[in-house]
Subunit: 331 residues, 2 copies
C-alpha cells in the first residue's frame, strides 16, 4: 500500500500526455493529490497547487509519485536530486517506470539513510499463491475488451465512482501500473510469473460482504494473441459475476498486430461468457462500454444506439454519458 | 543448451517414482544417458551402468543431471560433495528442483573455481520478446489436454520418436522442466513473466523448413482455472497447424480442484480450435491421445474404440499402441 496523500511529480514532462499517470490520479483520487511538482521546461499542468518539497510535506504529503513517463521509461538524472530531497524530508517515492527506482544507487542510499520506501509498481511486491478456484463471497465485475487499450480501466473506475456516489459498496481493483498508482495498491499482472497469474487475482479480490462489488481492471483481450493468456488468467482468477464489454470502434486492426482484425462485440460476449462460466456458472454480461473519443457527438450517439439495439444491452460511453446505466444493470 | 551426454544422478531416491526425471531422459534420449550415479540407500535403478564421477568423465559425460526429486525439492547436503566433485572433474550440473543450484554457496564457489555451469531449468535463461503474431514457416503440432498431467509430454515425445523413425523432420519443443532436462533445451513456461509467455513460445518455435514439424509440449488446460492462461499463451504463441487432444479417463475432478468436473473431449476440441484459429485459420484436430494406465487392457481398448467412433478421430494410447496413427494423421 502506497501511503497517501501524494505530491504528483510532473518533472520536465514534454507535453500533457506525458503526465497521464498524474492526470489519472488527479481525476480519480483527487483526495490523494494535494499538489504538483514541476521542473524547468515542464509542459504539463494538472491545475493543482505548485509545491516544493518542504511545502508538500508541510501540507501532509506522504509519497512523491512519479506521474510522468519519459521516452524509454528512464529516470532522468535531473530528477534524482528532487527525489532524494523528498526522502530526506520524509516522503516515500512511487513510480511505474520501466527503469526501477531500486536500480538507482543514489535513491537506494537515500531511502536507507532516511528510512523511506521505494515503490516500483512494475514489480510484484508479493509472492502470490497458485489459484485454487474456491468460490469467494461478495460480487465481482470485470471489464473485458475486444482489444488492448480500449477503456477497460476507465470504465471500471467510472463504475466505482458512480457506485460509491449511490452509497453502494464498491472497490476498484487495479491490475496495471497506472491503476496501482491511482489507488495505491493492486497487482501488476503483466509482471507476475505465469503459474501465479490467476492466484494473484484471487488474492486481489478476496472474500467480502455479500453486497460488495469488486470492479476489476481488465488487461489485454482474449483475442489479442500477445496477451490473451493474461486476460484468461484474469477471468479465471476473478470469478466475475458480471462482465462489461469494452470496445473502441475506430481500430483498423488489433493493437500492434497488423493483419489481425478486431472481433465483434458478439464474439467477445460469447467467448468471455464461455470462459467465465467455468468458474462462475451464474455470470452474465451486463452492458457495453464504447470509447467514442474518435467520433463526433452525433456519430458517437448513433453508434451507441445502434450497438444497444443490436446486442440488447445497455451501451454507453462513460466519458460522455457517465456509467449510471452500467451500474443500474449491475443492480 | 545443456551439454550432453549426461551422468544421471539418482542420489538417495526413496523409490523409482522419485527418479522419474532420470527415467524420462533414459527413455527418450538414451543416447544422452551414459550412466547412473546412486548413493547409499538409493531405491531407484534405471538399468544403466553404475558409475563414479571419474568413470563417467572418462566415458565422456559432460553434465551431471540431478534426475531425482526430493520431498520439497531440496538439494540435500549429502549431495553437495558429489556435485562439487563432478565440477572439479569437468562436468556441468543441471537441475529442475525448486531449490536452485545457484542458491547453494558451495556449488557456486565450485562452479567459479572450475569454470563450470549450473543449469537451473526452473529459471528462464533468456529475456523473451512480446509475441508479434507473425506467421512463421514450418509446421507445428501442439498437445492440449482436458486437464493437467494427462500425458501431453509423453504424446509429443512419442510422436517425435515415430516421425524421426520415419525420416520426417521433427523436433520436440520442451515447455516444462522435465522436458527441458530430457532434451537439453526449452522454455520453462510456468516461470515466464506474464507479458512474455506467448513471445517465449514464438521464440521456441521459430521459422523452419516447410516440411519440419515442431512437436510442442503442452501445459495445463484451457479448462484448468489455475493454469488456463499459460495454456492459452501456448496456443497463441505456438500457432499450431495441428492439435492432439489428450485425456485421462479416470479423473473424478480437475487436478487439485475438487468440484471442477473435467470437460468432454468434444468441448476441448471446440474451444481449442476456436482459440487456435485466431492465429492459424487452417488449424485442425488430428487425433486423440488417451492415457489408459488406470485401465485394464480390455477396458482400455474398448474406451479407445468408443472414443474414436464418437469423435471420428484416430484415438490411441501411445504407451500401449505407439503414436503411429497420430503421425499418419499429421501427414
Amino acid at each position: 500500500m502506497i501511503a497517501a496523500p501524494y505530491l504528483l511529480f510532473l518533472g520536465d514532462a514534454a507535453d500533457p500526455l506525458a503526465a497521464k499517470v498524474a492526470q489519472g490520479i488527479r481525476d480519480w483520487r483527487p483526495e490523494s493529490a494535494i499538489g504538483q511538482y514541476r521542473m524547468q521546461g515542464c509542459n504539463a499542468d494538472l491545475g493543482l497547487p505548485d509545491m516544493g518539497i518542504a511545502e508538500a510535506v508541510a501540507a501532509g504529503a506522504r509519497t512523491l509519485v512519479v506521474g510522468v513517463a519519459n521516452r524509454g521509461g528512464v529516470i532522468s538524472p535531473a530528477w534524482i536530486s528532487v527525489l532524494t530531497e523528498a526522502m530526506a524530508q520524509g516522503m516515500d517515492i512511487a513510480s511505474g517506470l520501466h527503469n526501477l527506482l531500486r536500480d538507482e544507487s543514489e535513491l537506494v542510499a537515500a531511502a536507507m539513510a532516511h528510512g523511506r520506501r521505494l515503490h516500483d509498481v512494475r514489480v510484484p511486491p508479493h509472492r502470490y499463491p497458485v489459484a485454487d478456484g474456491r468460490r469467494r463471497q461478495g460480487r465481482r465485475c470485470l471489464a473485458v475488451g475486444t482489444d488492448c487499450s480500449v477503456g477497460k480501466m476507465y470504465t471500471a473506475l467510472a463504475m466505482e465512482r458512480e457506485m460509491r456516489a449511490r452509497g453502494m459498496k464498491a472497490t476498484f481493483r487495479a491490475t496495471g501500473q497506472t491503476g496501482i498508482l491511482i489507488t495505491g495498491a493492486g497487482v501488476p499482472l503483466d509482471a507476475v510469473v505465469a503459474d501465479f497469474m490467476a492466484g494473484s487475482i484471487e488474492w486481489l479480490t478476496p472474500d467480502n460482504d455479500e453486497d460488495h462489488w469488486d470492479l476489476i481492471e481488465g488487461q489485454g483481450s482474449l483475442f489479442h494473441v500477445s496477451y490473451s493468456g493474461v486476460t484468461l488468467a484474469l477471468i479465471h482468477g476473478g470469478q466475475p459475476d458480471a462482465l462489461v464489454l469494452c470496445h473502441e470502434p475506430t481500430r483498423a486492426h488489433m493493437r500492434g498486430l497488423p493483419g489481425y482484425p478486431l472481433p465483434t462485440l458478439e464474439a467477445l460476449r460469447e467467448l468471455s461468457l464461455e470462459m467465465a462460466r467455468m468458474v462462475n456458472p451464474e455470470v452474465r454480461v451486463v452492458g457495453v462500454s464504447v470509447n467514442t473519443a474518435g467520433l463526433g457527438e452525433a456519430a458517437a450517439l448513433a453508434l451507441l444506439a445502434g450497438t444497444e439495439a443490436r446486442l440488447g444491452l445497455p451501451t454507453v460511453d462513460p466519458f460522455r454519458q457517465g456509467a449510471g446505466r452500467l451500474v443500474d444493470a449491475l443492480a
